[in-house]
């Protein structure tokens, strides 16, 4: 019952799909006006960053069908890229102009390692924070998708790769700060604007990046490549018979997702003021999958809201005296309920509600027209 042949109808559908995305962005940008509290803004900024990370997973899992259990790897790499640049900025203050980061001094390192040197340039660091995770993902994707690895094996490989990188970072403490991570950083400054973790500038920076990520991801899902990626998700071999290079598309969406996660990681360092090996830990990585599932993985806005709501709720529950001892149980029960009763997550629920309203209205108005399908909305 598809009536989307005409351009106006297609445009209408696009608007309908963009609407929730724009509403969410507008709310995020309006929040500082409503909420005159720097502490809460800082807290929300952290949740927004986790939201961006979850958008990136939604892109590869919900649209590409690639369940990346190591999504935090890209996030962590981005986070370390930013932390390295901000750490180098503290050198003149901490250890003199020709000095080294403090943890290197502690580990008796004599000269700045070669891979730290380019991070003296902030633009390089920012580019590296996205390009390095994308390249690592592309390389990993090349091996996996060229080798036609699918399903649960992809999840195992991505998870294992992340654990390996995590262990290397903890082990090479002379170059990475080890278990403590990279701490005691300078403030990020771009074009003379200082991004204080508690300031509004940082909040707007995060909000801006979140909107950008959402729009880029949305544009990708509507592009030709994006449609092919979704087709691969639904029926890989059929797409291959059509003559498409399936692996190439998979590698692309995998790398794009990693780049967005890297961006989120960089923002996380700015908001949290440190980088830690736990940022590419199993716990965070699996949490992202849960947020994505709760929000609805086939919806970018849904994934985003899933992260913000669940992380926010987790924070609120663990801070309320009543749940201090039991908050992990409550969160667990919530996930079980969502998985059992809302397989498509909150986005699925919103979709059903919306269709139900539309149908009621049409039934009341006696309009006998079919409803344009809203599958695979934003």
């Amino acid at each position: 019952m598809s009536l989307n042949g005409s351009t106006s109808n297609g445009l209408q559908r696009l608007t309908a799909q963009l609407a929730p995305l724009l509403i969410v962005c507008a709310l995020v940008f309006a929040l500082p006006v409503l909420l005159n509290n720097d502490f809460l803004l800082n807290k929300v900024a952290r949740y927004l960053v986790l939201g961006i990370l979850t958008i990136s997973l939604g892109l590869s899992w919900g649209f590409g069908g690639i369940l990346n259990l190591g999504q935090a790897m890209s996030f962590g790499l981005g986070s370390y890229a930013m932390a390295m640049a901000l750490k180098l900025k503290t050198i003149p203050v901490h250890t003199g102009a020709s000095g080294l980061p403090d943890f290197m001094v502690w580990n008796n390192v004599q000269a700045l390692p070669w891979f730290w040197v380019p991070f003296r340039s902030l633009p390089f660091a920012i580019a590296a924070g996205m390009i390095v995770p994308a390249l690592v993902a592309a390389a990993l994707g090349w091996f996996m998708f060229r080798g036609r690895v699918t399903g649960v094996y992809v999840s195992i490989i991505t998870l294992a790769t992340m654990v390996v990188i995590n262990l290397v970072i903890i082990d090479q403490q002379s170059y990475t700060g080890g278990f403590n991570g990279i701490t005691d950083l300078a403030q990020l400054e771009i074009f003379g604007v200082a991004f204080d973790a508690y300031g509004r500038a940082t909040y707007y920076l995060v909000a801006g990046c979140m909107m950008l990520s959402l729009l880029v991801a949305f544009a990708f899902t509507k592009s030709r490549a994006g449609l092919i990626v979704q087709a691969i998700r639904d029926h890989e071999s059929r797409v291959r018979y059509f003559g498409y290079d399936v692996a190439l598309y998979q590698i692309f969406v995998f790398a794009l997702s990693a780049a967005i996660a890297g961006l989120a990681g960089m923002l996380y360092t700015v908001v949290m003021e440190f980088a830690s090996p736990t940022f590419l830990g199993v716990q965070l990585s699996l949490s992202v999958v849960v947020w994505c599932a709760v929000g609805g993985r086939q919806s970018l806005v849904g994934s985003f809201l899933g992260a913000v709501l669940v992380a926010g709720m987790q924070g609120a529950l663990s801070e309320s005296a009543a749940f201090l001892e039991t908050w992990t149980l409550v969160m667990g029960a919530l996930f079980v309920l969502v998985v059992l009763f809302l397989p498509k997550g909150l986005a699925g629920l919103a979709q059903v509600v919306w269709r139900w309203i539309v149908q009621r209205r049409q039934a009341a108005g006696g309009v006998a027209q079919g409803v344009g399908q809203t599958e695979g909305s934003t």
């Binding site: 809460l40 701490t183 201090l324 629920l349 059903v352 509600v353």
Partner: protein, 416 residues
């Protein structure tokens, strides 16, 4: 349409109820309160109650709460009650940072007591420095930190090793095998140990680091057999301590000839591994549960009465306990209107209190604490026997391994 209307309604209602239970907390605004409003002094208590380090950190939470309850029961501080706000940072550095922000900026606590691992302290440090608040850190650690926003009440390397290393050389011999977990704390302790070995004519036969959480020590034990050290100097932490002791015993090595000398094995770890595995090995620390003093007797009795007769006290929980009393003394010195974190810091400088381990003093120069080093041997009943007690308390020197540097009231000073 795959979902029926009834099912949808049911689901919506269920989720709505859950959401209602959780969300209102997010939106409560914090009124701008003074630090001691309405006869209440708010402090944060930030020890993990869940996650990997929960077992040890729970005991720190309990010791802190015990001290707060005692102070309140005795009338509070000049009539004001201490109100502890307990948060669970879940053994995760990012959560530590989030909860620290909540306590400092959201709740406007005047001080926060917290952290076991250095990683978590490093994670919250920017919060306390940027907000100029005060963090009370009870754990022994590697030193080499000179923050104006942290009060350190645990031992630094010189306080655990100055007496210990020469004693070990004299009693067992000069060949040391250094084994530690792979992170900054063991490396710094070993840096200092090597300096002392050089000074007293000892030697290092091997220096080895195992990953955190490592539990397979057979290759280490083989190496110990082949190098035949006189002392195994251990800075292994957490569950690895338990594994190392058990496997040492299973391999049939003899603590009489080749003991482990640890800076990290407390009553808590001994309880986890069982007294049999620990028996015969040595630990250096400022406090042991068996220490005889009226203050310690009172502390141990109160702790058991409050939290259970099977509970043990140890050198980190003791520091939690006495640092809360140091906090009280500092606040007592201030007028209510002057109650701010920087003023508390200035007031606590030079404060003395009779802790369970003996009389301690907070050093004005570097905000670390004068402590009473002790050397003890573990026994099979899970307790220690104190063999050597320092005759004088020992000054904290957080930069002991780095003669060119010292921590002063103005910050880190380098002598060139």
């Amino acid at each position: 349409m795959s979902i029926s209307r009834r099912r949808l309604l049911r689901n919506t209602a269920a989720f709505g109820a859950l959401a209602g239970a959780g969300f209102p907390h997010i939106w409560i605004k914090n009124a701008d309160l003074a630090y001691a409003a309405g006869g209440e002094i708010k402090v944060g208590v930030l020890f993990s109650l869940t996650g990997t380090t929960a077992i040890i950190e729970e005991s720190l939470n309990k010791a802190t709460l015990l001290a707060i309850e005692e102070i309140n029961a005795a009338g509070g501080i000049k009539g004001s009650k201490i109100v502890p706000i307990v948060e669970d940072p879940a053994s995760d550095p990012a959560t530590f940072s989030e909860k620290a922000r909540k306590l400092v900026v959201g709740d406007k606590c005047v001080s926060v007591f917290g952290s076991y691992t250095s990683a978590s302290r490093k994670a919250v440090l920017p919060v306390f420095e940027r907000q100029n608040n005060l963090y009370w850190y009870p754990t022994l650690y590697e030193g080499r930190e000179c923050s104006k926003n942290v009060i350190y009440t645990g031992a630094v390397p010189n306080q655990q090793q100055d007496e210990f290393v020469p004693w070990l050389i004299k009693k067992f011999g000069k060949k040391f095998y250094l084994i530690g977990s792979n992170y900054i704390y063991p490396k710094e302790e070993n840096n200092y140990c090597k300096k002392l070995l050089e000074k007293y004519g000892g030697e290092v036969v091997a220096e080895e680091y195992v990953p955190l959480g490592h539990s397979e020590f057979s290759s280490v034990i083989n190496k110990i057999r082949s190098t035949q050290p006189n002392v195994i100097f251990s800075t292994v932490v957490g569950d690895s301590v338990v594994a190392l002791h058990r496997q040492y015993r299973a391999a049939g090595l003899d603590p009489e000839k080749m003991p482990m000398a640890s800076l990290t094995t407390s009553e808590n770890e001994v309880a986890a591994m069982g007294g049999e595995a620990a028996a015969g090995h040595f630990t250096s620390a400022p406090y042991f549960m068996v220490h005889k003093s009226p203050e310690n007797q009172k502390f141990v009795e109160a702790y058991k009465k409050r939290w259970g007769a099977d509970k043990v006290t140890h050198f980190v929980s003791e520091a939690c306990y006495f640092q809360t009393y140091l906090f009280k003394q500092a606040v007592e010195k201030l007028a209510t209107s002057d109650l701010t974190p920087p003023n508390i810091r200035d007031a606590v400088k030079g404060q003395e209190t009779i802790a369970p381990q003996g009389k301690v003093r907070l050093e004005a120069e570097n905000l670390h604490t004068w402590l009473w080093p002790k050397i003890a041997q573990a026994k099979s009943d899970g307790q220690f026997e104190i063999l050597v007690e320092a005759k004088e308390w020992l000054k904290p020197v957080p930069y002991a391994a780095y003669p060119g540097q010292s921590c002063t009231e103005k910050g880190l000073v380098e002598k060139s």
